[in-house]
């Protein structure tokens, strides 16, 4: 038998058709697991396979679509079901004399959503798929066909599982809706980039749509993909007729459509739901005589997130540099404290400021960088839509980040050093990525463009050896400060130009390095950015919050015909104030304002219950929930000589918060206002904290908050967190779906006096009870306060909690009581 890889992309290959519809016709019921029929109805399965083999397909699927340990948890059950699926395929091949046909181990989605959308961990998904791959391979499958994937992340887990557990060819087909999106939001181009990065052997689309509806998606697939493309549509759209599901496209009509699809330049065709051996036979009859066209290599360079595809090339992109501890005291502290909120906020701000990609560097000698890289990547991709650039010199950290990344990231970086190439390129080869190449090698940084181009050529050659396409290399021209070598900008600019003109490559720069050691750096940086862009720079690593830089960028696009009708420029600046040089203009125009915007200052009914005109500006701003005004008022108050930050907190800030809190309890202030006031107070606190830099503030106590195991609703817990922090407590937020053991371990290790637990569902109160039981056993002195939608005083008593808090303010009051009783806050 010829290796399938030898034939893929060189000749027409025909895949089989639907499984479920045929089994239903043979009596499978809606509530039944179809794969069990491999054991209970072997003759029906043999007939299914034989039908497709006799119709002439080259590749046919085992009846294992939904087989995984979650659905077949019994001892040996999964093994039996998958093995029988493959063995019956071998038998069908013998019976029909089709020894040339390939048995595809069919793998569908797990049926659960991956974190953070659902509760299935990424590595758990890899394990679940890996198990099926091992069983199927041992039983004799010829390839792995991962199909009907509607989430890029789950598709990635399945591909890694296949690659890590067998050497068989791996084909992947995903399911788009009519708009060309996966259920989780990825576009055709994003899915293609990720799958090609994972080096699958063929990719394509199946299910959900009929061949006619699939046409525009196939066109996009063929335009984006460089590897063989598979198209397996349904037999049109389903409808119910007399209680049975029927599809509206018959064999001849299907074949006509497939002829049209084949002509678009795809290499493999077959069917999905509703298609039968008759459909496949008719399709083969029409397509097999058509001229075959192999796919062509596409030269577009694409990085992706779960939903977005960002192209590097025609229009330069902005890469945000703020997630990086270098030279940032506050960021270093955030890394040491695992302060995710701070790090995520840095990410959100850059997204709002107009960055296209975010650089992620979490390297600090005293922390566990690989673990931090994984944590930060997971959390960032849970809230951001932008692709990330993983920036580390530690290959272990790089692999952790690459593995859990949902998409095709940028990788920063490899250098011309042999050691670096050998460490980084295999990882990019395995996981995919667009690789930043630094123009330095064992001899250091060449001081001429010629020297740098030489290294660039060597890196391209190394990429060839590792099977990384040249389009996925981006050359870092290296910006070195002109304060130590006044020629250095010219060398860098020449390097950019020559990479573009002589090598046809893409370039990247950490732009602001150019001005190191000079005053008013923003001026040099912005002008250098314009020059670099003019010389062909593809990716600018900058602080997107820096207005001068963003103005230079937007102006360059407008002047270079890269901003149609100047729409981007107009949108950014039509209503923005004119720039103020020498100062730091507030995050002005261009900020694509999203959830991060502060509430607009305006009248609030909370003020109606306020003390009136005698209130200080700070108290007023807090009561009315105006974050910017609160920060401003605090700054102004502190500017008055003799004003102490702590006095300000105790005499103005806390009383204002109390006033709002009381209003909330009386029912005259509502939750959104309570939180807006809390946010205003937080903004004020931040200013006070800044002014007291160096002096540590006393915490009123440390409190664990967690949403218990099994529960994924954490909004209530997050509200409580905001309020507790406002009242001066340190909150250790353990997140949602937290196992009792984690909560107890943290309480013991951190010497915690109060634990707050949240549960939304009756079904998860059980976990709450178990957590309390374990806490009582291992740390009897710790108090437990509980809350959540289903919680009541009776319920709280029944599970042994110390307090039931009906809302966030009640939790604050209880914390006050607990820590007052303890006298001094716990340390």
């Amino acid at each position: 038998m010829t290796d399938l890889r030898e034939r893929l992309g060189r000749e027409w290959l025909f895949f089989d058709g639907g499984t479920g519809t045929i089994l239903q016709a043979r009596g499978l019921r809606g509530g039944e697991l179809p794969e069990r029929w491999n054991l209970t109805h072997p003759e029906d399965i043999l007939a299914l396979y034989a039908g497709y083999l006799e119709a002439g397909c080259h590749v046919f699927n085992t009846n294992t679509f939904g087989a995984n340990r979650l659905k077949y948890p019994g001892e040996g059950e999964l093994e039996a079901v998958v093995t029988a699926g493959v063995r019956l395929a071998q038998e069908a091949r013998e019976r029909t004399g089709r020894q040339d046909a390939y048995i595809a181990l069919d793998i569908g989605p797990t049926g659960k959503l991956l974190e953070p959308l659902g509760d299935l961990g990424f590595e758990r998904a890899v394990d679940l798929f890996g198990e099926v791959v091992r069983i199927g391979t041992a039983a004799g499958a010829d390839l792995v066909l991962i199909e009907t994937m509607s989430d890029t992340y789950e598709a990635k887990a399945a591909v890694l599982a296949a690659k890590e557990n067998c050497d068989l060819p791996v084909c992947v087909t995903v399911t788009f809706d009519e708009g060309g999106k996966l259920l989780t939001g990825a576009s055709v181009e994003a899915a293609v980039a990720m799958l090609e990065g994972l080096r699958v052997d063929a990719l394509g689309v199946n299910c959900s749509l009929g061949p006619r509806q699939m046409l525009p998606i196939v066109e996009r697939l063929v335009r984006a993909a460089s590897i063989p493309v598979i198209v397996n549509p349904n037999a049109g759209l389903p409808r119910t007729e007399g209680g049975r599901t029927v599809y509206d496209v018959g064999p001849e009509e299907f074949a006509e459509h497939m002829e049209r699809i084949a002509a678009l330049g795809v290499q493999c065709v077959g069917g999905c739901c509703g298609t039968t051996p008759a459909h496949i036979r008719a399709m083969i009859g029409r397509v097999s005589g058509m001229p075959f066209r192999p796919n062509t290599a596409k030269e577009t360079t694409v990085v992706t997130s779960f939903s977005q595809a960002v192209e590097i090339g025609p229009v330069p992109v902005i890469i945000g540099e703020r997630i990086n501890p270098t030279g940032k005291k506050r960021f270093k502290q955030a890394l040491r404290d695992s302060d995710m909120e701070y790090i995520l906020t840095e990410g959100l701000k850059q997204e709002d400021s107009g960055a296209h990609i975010l650089d992620v560097n979490v390297g600090l000698p005293e922390i566990d960088e690989p673990a931090m890289m994984e944590q930060v990547v997971r959390r960032l991709q849970g809230v951001l839509s932008l692709p990330l650039q993983l920036d580390t010199s530690d290959p272990v950290a790089l692999e952790r980040g690459l593995r859990c990344y949902n998409g095709k990231p940028m990788v920063n970086s490899v250098s011309g050093k042999k050691e670096s190439i050998e460490a980084v390129m295999p990882l990019v080869r395995k996981y995919g990525g667009v690789l930043v190449a630094l123009m330095l090698d064992e001899d250091g940084i060449p001081d001429s463009a010629e020297g740098r181009i030489r290294i660039a050529r060597r890196i391209y050659e190394a990429a060839d050896r590792y099977g990384i396409p040249r389009k996925d290399i981006v050359i870092d021209g290296l910006a070195m400060t002109i304060s130590s070598d006044s020629r250095s900008a010219l060398v860098t600019l020449e390097t950019l130009r020559r990479v573009r003109d002589e090598l046809g490559g893409h370039t990247i720069l950490g732009v602001s390095n150019i001005s190191f050691g000079l005053p008013q750096r923003a001026t040099i940086n912005a002008h250098f950015l314009t020059m670099a862009l003019q010389n062909g720079l593809s990716c600018a690593i900058i602080n997107p919050g820096n207005e001068e830089m963003m103005r230079a960028y937007r102006a360059f696009l407008a002047l270079s015909d890269l901003d149609p009708q100047c729409m981007g420029y107009i949108e950014a600046y039509a209503n923005a104030p004119a720039p103020v040089f020498g100062g730091t203009p507030a995050a002005a125009g261009g900020a694509v304002s999203q959830a991060g915007t502060a509430p607009a200052d305006g009248p609030s009914s909370a003020s109606s219950s306020a003390g009136g005109a005698s209130q200080s500006p700070l108290a007023h701003a807090i009561v009315r929930g105006m974050a910017e005004s609160a920060a401003k008022a605090t700054r102004e108050a502190l500017a008055v000589p003799g004003t102490d930050g702590l006095t300000l907190i105790n005499e103005q800030l806390i009383p204002a918060l109390d006033q709002v809190g009381k209003g909330f309890e009386k029912g005259t202030v509502f939750l959104p206002q309570l939180l807006m006031s809390a946010e205003a107070a937080k903004a004020a606190f931040a200013v006070v904290k800044e002014s007291m830099a160096g002096r540590t503030q006393a915490s009123r106590g440390r409190i664990i908050l967690a949403t218990v195991k099994g529960d994924i609703h954490d909004i209530g817990k997050n509200i409580v967190k905001v309020m507790l922090e406002n009242y001066g407590y340190d909150v250790l937020d353990l997140g949602k779906d937290v196992p009792p053991e984690t909560i107890v371990r943290t309480a013991v290790e951190e010497n915690i006096e109060l634990v707050g637990l949240s549960a939304l569902m009756t079904t998860t109160v059980v976990s709450m009870e178990e957590t309390i039981r374990q806490l009582r056993r291992d740390r009897p002195g710790t108090k437990v306060v509980v809350g959540g939608a289903v919680m009541t005083q009776e319920y709280a008593d029944a599970i042994g909690a110390d307090c039931y808090a009906k809302d966030a303010m009640a939790t604050v009051h209880y914390a006050d009581r607990v820590f007052a009783a303890h006298g001094t806050p716990a340390d």
């Binding site: 499978l28 809706d177 060309g180 939180l675």
Partner: protein, 271 residues
């Protein structure tokens, strides 16, 4: 530059009359929804705790921004399937409902489905967008998170009403009436039924909705429900509470059935 925006595609035209998304074994059509969702402001404010009070301008403006943001990010999808409803008798003599071979023990559902020989299973979702927006706002600004939460809760209810209305219209064409929709977790209807509904409607595949180990749906702005279909005047439908849904606008199962009705902050004022 961003080649794609991650924006949800909203479907335009209505599907052909009588079209149903297929059930088990067959491909489900990840059917996009056929008309734009509305977000009743009154409901949004109610979920935020404003009972009968209109929030001040700051909150109203924030709510409008959140609703606009959600409208860009939701990907409403629905799947529904008509199924026969059968009944068996348990060992203890009690009646038991059976849906596609799945036994269902629930007095409340039995009452709701009295006289029905057919049901429509429905599931719908706003997609992963709202959860993501709420996660995002939870980092930066909790006040936005709670408003997004309330607005998306109002939106999913509106989507349920749209799907329910479609079921009712299709039933009316066949001379049938519908009962108020009933979801797992209402009254004594066990959450466990979610597994069966998920399998029958192939929810992961058709609308991208999964179940956690604790039977919560993900994305969280998703709903499953059972709608009973009954022939007017059918035996056993004469009693008041269980009577056929004479008022076509009355599709809500309502708070009357909920065990938490006495304490719930979100209880409708008129129930």
């Amino acid at each position: 530059m961003s080649a794609e925006t991650g924006r949800a595609e909203r479907a335009g035209g209505a599907p052909a009359a009588g079209t149903q998304t297929a059930g088990a074994g067959a491909a489900g059509t990840p059917a996009a929804v056929w008309e734009p969702l509305s977000t009743p402001r009154r409901e949004v404010y109610r979920y935020l705790g404003y009972r009968g009070i209109v929030p001040d301008e700051t909150v109203r403006a924030a709510a409008e921004e959140c609703i606009a943001q959600l409208a860009r990010e939701v990907t409403p999808r629905q799947v529904r399937r008509l199924l026969p409803l059968t009944r068996t008798v348990r060992e203890d003599g009690a009646e038991r409902l059976v849906i596609e071979g799945i036994p269902v023990d629930s007095l409340a559902l039995q009452k709701n489905l009295r006289g029905c020989e057919e049901i429509c299973l429905m599931a719908c979702t706003l997609g992963p967008g709202p959860d993501r927006l709420i996660r995002r706002a939870s980092v930066a600004q909790m006040s936005r998170a709670v408003i997004l939460q309330a607005a998306s809760a109002a939106m999913i209810e509106d989507l349920c009403d749209l799907v329910n209305a479609r079921i009712r219209e299709e039933a009316a064409e066949r001379g049938l009436r519908t009962r108020p929709r009933f979801s797992p977790g209402y009254g004594d209807l066990p959450l466990e039924l979610q597994r069966g509904i998920s399998r029958i409607l192939q929810m992961p595949k058709t609308i991208g909705v999964g179940l956690t180990d604790t039977l919560l749906m993900t994305p969280s702005k998703s709903v499953t429900a059972i709608v009973g279909l009954v022939r007017p005047g059918a035996a056993g439908t004469a009693d008041g509470a269980g009577g056929a849904d004479a008022d076509p606008t009355c599709t809500m199962a309502g708070c009357a059935l909920c065990g938490a009705r006495e304490t719930c902050a979100y209880r409708k004022e008129d129930s």
